[in-house]
Symmetry: C2
Subunit: 277 residues, 2 copies
C-alpha cells in the first residue's frame, strides 16, 4: 500500500489527523527533499510527532529508481510532501506508476497554496484564472510568459495567482520584491519592442500593461501566525519587507466592492481603490 | 480573538493538528449549518474530538446578528466550516467585520475542493481556468453561464473545475449525472438558438460545443477512502453511478500526454484518448 500524505501549508501541525494516523501506522515514511520542505518546521519535528525516522530521497532516488514504489509492493509506505500531494505533477506520475504495478494507493489531501492564497488575498476564489509561476531568470532565460499570463487573465476578467520560484537545493526562494521586479523588467522589454505605424506613431505590442501603478497583493507565509497580506500599487510593494519565505503574489483583475473593502481593511490597500469599483 | 478553522474535505479527521488544538482551547465553538456540513461525519464526532459542544447557528444568527463576532470581543471563539475557511465569500466578510471591531483573527486553512479536485482529476493544476458552479434549475432560472464558462476556458486552453450546487437546508446535493444533464440541456437550447445566414444555412451561435462526445471527469467524495474518479465521454458518464455526495466535474481542455495517461490508468478513460494527444 502506498499513501500520498500532504503535510499542508507551513509547519508540522498543518497535517490532518488522518495523515498523522497513517504516518504513525505505516512501515516506512519517505520524503523527497525537493518538494517537501516545510518553512515553519523541519523533518525532525515530524519524526518526533510520528515516532519514526523519515527516509529523505534525492531527486534521482525518487524519479529514476522509484525506491518507495518498490518498497510499497510488500510494505505499507507513505510518501510525504508539503501542501497537497497531487499539486506537484511528479506525484500524479507516481500514482500512475503504482497503479501499473498493481499497488493500492490512497491520497490524504492537505491545505494548499492553490486554494489558501486566493482565500487570504480577499479576492473571490471563483474569479481566478490560470495560475502562473515566475522562474529565477538566468543568462539566456527570461521568459515573458508569466507577464503574458496575467494580461490574458485580465482580458478575461480573471485574477491571477502568481507563484514564485523555489530552488530548494540552493536554498533560494523568490520574494514578492523579486517577482514584481521581474514583471517590471518584462514590461520594460515589451515597451522597447513597441512598433511604429505608417505615421511613425508608436504602437504598444500589448493591448494592456502591468506597470508601477498596477494594484498587486503580496502574500507571505500563508498558514502561519505571521502571515502578511499587503495590497498596494507595485511601485510601493516592490521595496516592502515581507519577511521570510514562502511568498506569492495575487494580481487582481476588476475588483468587486466586497473585494476592495477586504483589501483596504485587511491588506491596508490605499482607500482610493474603493473609488474605482 | 476569533479563529476561522477549516475542517477540510470529508470527515472529522481532515482537520489539521493546529485546528484541533485551537478548537480544544477556545471558550466557544460556532458552526453555521449552511456551509459546514461534513459528508463523512457529523458535528457529534467533532464534539467528541474537541471535548466541547458546538453551537450551530442559523443563517440569520450568522449574517444579521453576527453572534460569534460579538462573543469574540471578550472570549476566544472559533468558527468552523468545511473545506478551507476563506473559500466561502461570507467568511472573508466576517474577517473584515472583526477587523473593524478591533478583534484579532487567525485563519487555520484546510484542504479544499478547489485544490484537491484538480489534483485528483489528474489534470495539471496550473492549467485550470475559472471555476464555475452549476445551480439547481428552477421555473424561470436556467442560466447558460456554466456552459459558457467552460467554452471560454476551452478557448483559452484551460481546464474547468465544475462545482455542483448544494442546498443543504433541503438536503439536496447535485450529482455528476444531474450536472452533465444540465450542460446537455444548455447545449440543446443553444442549438435551437442557431441562426441562418443569407443562404439559409444554419450557423451555430457558439464557436465550439460541449456535447455527448466531450470528455469529462466525474469526481465523487474527494478526501474519502472511496473517492471515485471516472473519465469518459459525457454520453457514458451521464448514467454512471457515482454513489453518495459530494460530487464535482472536471472538463478537460487539450490534454497533455501525462494527463491522458493518468486518465486511462487511474480514471479508466477509454484508451482512444491517447491517440488524440
Amino acid at each position: 500500500m502506498l499513501y500520498f500524505v500532504g503535510l499542508g501549508l507551513f509547519d508540522e501541525k498543518d497535517i490532518s489527523l488522518k495523515g498523522l494516523e497513517i504516518l504513525k501506522k505505516v512501515d516506512m515514511v519517505f520524503a523527497e527533499f525537493f518538494t517537501s520542505r516545510l518553512f515553519g518546521s523541519n523533518f525532525e519535528a515530524i519524526e518526533k510527532l510520528i515516532g519514526k525516522k523519515i527516509a529523505i530521497l534525492s531527486r534521482e532516488e525518487v524519479e529514476e529508481e522509484n525506491i518507495f514504489i518498490k518498497e510499497a509492493k510488500n510494505k505499507d509506505i507513505a510518501l510525504i510532501c508539503g501542501g497537497d500531494p497531487l499539486i506537484a505533477t511528479t506525484h500524479t506520475d507516481f500514482l500512475v506508476e503504482a497503479k501499473k504495478k498493481g499497488i493500492a494507493t490512497e491520497v490524504i489531501h492537505g491545505s494548499s497554496i492553490i486554494s489558501s492564497a486566493p482565500g487570504i488575498s480577499g479576492l473571490q476564489a471563483y474569479k481566478f484564472g490560470k495560475v502562473t509561476t515566475i522562474p529565477f531568470p538566468d543568462d539566456n532565460f527570461f521568459p515573458h510568459s508569466p507577464y503574458m499570463a496575467i494580461l490574458e487573465n485580465m482580458k478575461n476578467n480573471a485574477h491571477t495567482l502568481v507563484l514564485l520560484d523555489i530552488q530548494a537545493h540552493k536554498d533560494k526562494y523568490m520574494s514578492v520584491n523579486e517577482g514584481l521586479s521581474y514583471l517590471m523588467k518584462v514590461k520594460d522589454e515589451r515597451n522597447e519592442m513597441s512598433e511604429r505605424n505608417e505615421n511613425n506613431e508608436e504602437i504598444a505590442i500589448d493591448e494592456a500593461v502591468i506597470d508601477e501603478n498596477t494594484l498587486a497583493i503580496g502574500i507571505a507565509r500563508v498558514g502561519s501566525k505571521d502571515v502578511v497580506v499587503k495590497a498596494d500599487k507595485i511601485a510601493n510593494l516592490i521595496d516592502y519587507d515581507f519577511g521570510g519565505p514562502l511568498h506569492c503574489i495575487a494580481i487582481p483583475s476588476k475588483l468587486h466592492i466586497v473585494e476592495a473593502e477586504y483589501l483596504v481593511e485587511i491588506a491596508s490597500a490605499p482607500k482610493s481603490i474603493l473609488d474605482k469599483v
